[in-house]
């Protein structure tokens, strides 16, 4: 469904992506792992067109992701941002129903609100949260609202950027379980960016290890621990010794 071929991206002399090759089949949950600053977020932003790659090809369902109707293309995606990226000026329900109140997916206001409350309930938030503003919510609640927004229009493809960053282990577990449940329930194709190994084990069907601008290893999550790949082994064990430099 999503295929990246030799995708490259540099910022001045910093070559972030040096030739990414990755395939995410339809309905699969792919988790991309790697250290901080290795270009994981740039990778998913390249697919969404938020960052323009310098070279390479990104295909979604065999079609070039950079060409064609952008609105129709983006309407197929949902995205949970690392910090939530909720709009401060809008109440929670309008954040969740943002896509349902504008553009090609526009619905009547009451219907959009109803769907938003239903999605909030789906991520474990009570309806009274709907009229509060993002600044009034805890970090965990903001992540849940971000998740509700990502699934509000029932997209075919969902991206999760560091879904558990900044959360305590219990809340991280809750978010991981929610993501897994929703992904299975919706049958969506997903890409998750993380360096949290508990997220990997809960969410992933397949894992891709990004280091030094290329995918060092990719395979089923069940094979991750016995992969024999020195980069992946070091990352999974959290050891300072190995091919990945501890000080970058």
């Amino acid at each position: 469904m999503i295929r990246l071929t030799d995708v490259k991206k540099s910022f001045s002399s910093n070559h972030v992506l040096r030739g990414i090759n990755l395939h995410v089949p339809k309905g699969e949950s792919m988790v991309v792992i790697g250290g901080s600053g290795t270009g994981k977020s740039i990778l998913i932003k390249s697919v969404l067109g938020l960052v323009t790659p310098d070279a390479g090809e990104i295909l979604v369902d065999g079609k070039d992701a950079t060409k064609g109707d952008r609105d129709a293309f983006l309407a197929r995606f949902g995205m949970l941002f690392q910090g939530g990226a909720l709009f401060d000026s809008l109440p929670v329900w309008q954040n969740v129903a943002f896509r349902l109140m504008r553009g090609s997916l526009k619905r009547p206001k009451d219907e959009a609100r109803e769907i938003a409350i239903e999605k909030l309930r789906r991520v474990g938030l009570k309806p009274d949260v709907a009229d509060r503003y993002p600044a009034e919510l805890s970090g965990g609640m903001q992540k849940r609202v971000g998740l509700a927004r990502a699934i509000a229009a029932e997209p075919e493809i969902i991206f999760f950027d560091e879904p558990t960053t900044g959360l305590d282990p219990i809340m991280s577990g809750v978010i991981n379980d929610l993501i897994r449940e929703i992904v299975v329930e919706m049958g969506a194709t997903t890409m998750t960016i993380t360096h949290d190994m508990s997220s990997v084990r809960t969410i992933a069907d397949k894992v891709a290890m990004l280091h030094d601008g290329v995918i060092q290893w990719t395979g089923p999550v069940a094979e991750m621990d016995a992969s024999g790949d020195p980069y992946l082994t070091q990352f999974v064990s959290g050891s300072a010794k190995g091919p990945i430099e501890a000080v970058r």
Partner: protein, 257 residues
Amino acid sequence: MSILAAIGAATLAFLASIGRIAIFAGQTVSHLIRPPFYFKEFGQQLLQIGYFSLPVVGLTTIFTGGALALQIYAGGARFNAEAVVPQIVAIGIVRELGPVLVGLMIAARVTSSIAAEIATMKVTEQIDALVTLSTHPMKYLTVPRVLAALLVVPLLTGIGDIIGIFGGFLVATKTLGFNEAAYLQNTADFLQSTDILSSLAKGAVFGTIAALMGCYYGMNSGRGAQGVGGATKASVQAAAILILAANFILTGVFFSA
């Protein structure tokens, strides 16, 4: 680096920023005339830029009008021309001080607020979120702000002109001994429609500059709190300088000859 090279680099950087701002303005116009239009956001900006700026505009212009009356009276006394206070206050406020002060107050209040808000949205990935939600940031953020400023700042300028003249009227009639009816008559007789039109036109241009600079620097801010602070500072500086430069040009266009 030699001095010439440094001057050359600075000149190139300056010209490049003018080019980027011109492209940004062109993109804004292009989005202004193409749907979708976000009327709710436009309405909110009319309130934010127009209604909520009234107190600062009113206070600025009333004090300036009053001070101007005192200055003209004191200066005019040197050559027995104290009687020209109503005329000079009117022309000074309507042609120059009204639009310029309103423009600068809008730059201080609105440009800074727009730049800080949009820059914060950028560093917290809210701009990226808008894109992923199939909403163009230029249409949703820039167009409503620039259009609202274009329409509402001339109105604020007109109100500022009236309040400024009223400030002069208060000082002249309550402390300098001018007759109220004669003061108003002199003001009305002396002002021409060109004076008022130039004032409103300047307001439209200054409002557009103020909103455009806030949006441009917000959208192009650096990372983190320092990026937001830098964008806010740069936007107000650019808006203030461009407003004063535009005022010089517009004054030449309207009143030279």
